[in-house]
Point group: C2
Chain length 357, copies 2
Amino acid sequence: MTDPLRPGATIGILGGGQLGRMLSVAAARLGFRSHIFDPGANPPAGEVAAQVTTAPWDDEAALAAFADSVDVVTYEFENIPTATLDILQRHHPIRPGREALRISQDRLTEKTFLQGLGLKTAPYADISYLASLQAALRDIGTPAILKTRRFGYDGKGQARLDSIDDAAHAHAAMQGAPAILEGFVAFSHEVSVIAARGLQGDVACFDPGENVHRDGILHTTTVPARLTPGQRSDAILLAANILNALDYVGVLGVELFVTSDGLIVNEIAPRVHNSGHWTQNGCAVDQFEQHIRAVVGWPLGDGHRHADVVMENLIGTDIDRVATLAAEPDTALHLYGKAETKPGRKMGHVNRIRRLS
Amino acid sequence: MTDPLRPGATIGILGGGQLGRMLSVAAARLGFRSHIFDPGANPPAGEVAAQVTTAPWDDEAALAAFADSVDVVTYEFENIPTATLDILQRHHPIRPGREALRISQDRLTEKTFLQGLGLKTAPYADISYLASLQAALRDIGTPAILKTRRFGYDGKGQARLDSIDDAAHAHAAMQGAPAILEGFVAFSHEVSVIAARGLQGDVACFDPGENVHRDGILHTTTVPARLTPGQRSDAILLAANILNALDYVGVLGVELFVTSDGLIVNEIAPRVHNSGHWTQNGCAVDQFEQHIRAVVGWPLGDGHRHADVVMENLIGTDIDRVATLAAEPDTALHLYGKAETKPGRKMGHVNRIRRLS
C-alpha cells in the first residue's frame, strides 16, 4: 500500500496505553477508525477506539482477525514480540517498519547503529559476564549505569555503579539478562526532538523540548528548550539522519544530552514520545496526528509552534491534584482514564500554555 | 448529585453526531467514560466512546439500562422527546436542565422568554391559520420568514415571504405545523457567544465569534469578531442573563445580530454550538471540555483565548478538499467519520490558527 488511506479506513494500533489512547483520538480527528490490540483487559485506549481486541501477543487467530479488520498497523511501544510482527506483516504494512523496532529493542544494537551514523553516544560496553562488567568498568570508569539490553523503560531494569565494588551486586540485579554498561555523560541538560518522516520520505520536526526527570521518569518538558541556533540545527539534522537511515515512517523520539562537546544521543524511541505531549496544545498538528498522518500516507504537518508550552507529567498520586489543576488558567488537562493509581504510574499530564516567545 | 464527579465516572450523552463525538473526546481527556445513546446505527460518536446504545427514544428498557450505566446525562441536540427525558430523570440529573430544553424546543416560547428578560429579538407573531399569517404580515411587513415552531435546524422548516401574496404558499409549506412569523432585522453581521455556567452558578464566556452563513448553514466563524468594547460587554452580559434565568448547567450558544440599535438575539441553543468549534485550537479548555466540566461539577475554564482562529465548516463535497487542507500550514482538521457524503451534511471543519491579535 502506497496510496494514502482515506477517512473511514481503520488503523490497527498495537498497545492500548495512554499513547495508543491519544493516537486513537488523533486518528478519529482525521476521520479514521482505530482498532486496539492489547493483552490486558480494558486498556485506556479502548475507551476512545472503534474496536478493541483483548488477546495475548502469541494468539495467532486473534492476530489474523485483527489484521483482517485494519488497513495498516502501527504501535505505541517498541517491545512487541518478533513473532507477533511476523504474523501481522503477512497481512499489512507495519509502520514504522521492522528495522526501527529491531534496533530500538536492543540498547546495544541501538548504540552501534547510532555510532555507525557518525553520531555521538555515551561510552558503552556489551556485558555478558561479571568479568566483562569489571573490565568495562575499568575502561569506562564510574559512575556508570548497567542496563538490560532489552525491555527497559522509565528507569526499570537499571542499576547505578559508583565503584567497581558495586559490580557483583549490579550484575546479579540483571538476573542473567544480556546487559550494556553505559558511562555517564557530563551534560548540562537533556532535550528531545520529536521528528517525523512521511511515506514519501518528507521529514518534519517539532521544536526541541527540554526535559527534566525525577526518579528516572520524565517530569517536565519545556518548549522552547535552551539551545543555541547551532545546537537546534544539529538536533534536527541528526534526527533526520536517523529517520532516513531507517527508511522510517512515523514519529520518532530522540533524546539528546547537551554538552560542551555538542549533542550526544541518549536513546531513540520508534513511536510517539512522552516529551512530545506539549504539541497537543502548541501546534495545529500534534505528534499523535503527525504519526497517524505518516502511517496513512498523508502530508505531514510542518511542526510549527503557535504557543510556548510547559508539559508536566502526573505520576501516581499527582492525580489527586486534579481539582487544583483544573482551576488553573491556561492549563490543559490530559488524563488517561486509568482505574488504578500506582507509584510511578503515568496517570495524565498537563500542558501549561504560554505566549509564544 | 452536587459533588463533582471523579475521573472514571460515566457521562451519558443523548445523540451520537459530531457534537456528541467531540464531547466524548473531551470527556476522555478528563478521564471520564462516555456512553452514547442514539437511535441510528453506527453513530459517529460511537467510534470514540466507551459504550454505545442503539435504540429508539421511546424504548423504556433501553433507556433504563442506559441510565443505570451512567452518572449524569447530557445531550448534543435540543429536540429530545419529553417522554425520554421523563424516564431518564428518574435515575439521574439531566444537564442542562428541562427548562432550557422546554424553551429552546419552541421558537415562540423562546422569543417570549427572551423578551421577558428585557432582551431584543426580531419582531414575531404566532401563526396558526392562514388568516393569522396574513394579519401578521400586514403588521410585521416583508420580507419576513415563516418557521415551524419546533424541530427546525440549519434552515430546514423555513419559508421566506417577500410579499403578502406568498402567504398561502408559505403556509402550505408548513404542512399544518404550528409556526412563527419573524420579521427581518437589518443587521451588519452576526456574532455568537459560547457561554457556560457551572453547577455552583459560576459563568464563563469565550470571546464572541463572527459568523457567516451559506445556504442557511454556518460557513465560517472568525475570532475575534468585529465588535466595539461596549458591544462585547453587552454580548457577554446578556448571555449570562440567559444562563442565570434558566439556572443553566453547561454550554449555551447565543446567536446575535449586530445592529445600529444594539444586539438582537437571533436564537439560543442549549448545547455546544458549531460556532464554538474554534475553541478547540484557540483555548486551553475548549467548548466541549467546558460543557463536560459543567455537567460533572468541575470548575469551568476561564475562556481565555491564546490564538486567533478562523473556523470553516466542511459541508457535503467540501470533504473532497481534505488532501489540500491537510497540506495547509497552521490548519487543524477535524473530521467526523461520517460514512456517507450528502449535500448540506456537516462532514468536518478546519480551524485556521492565527497569531493572537
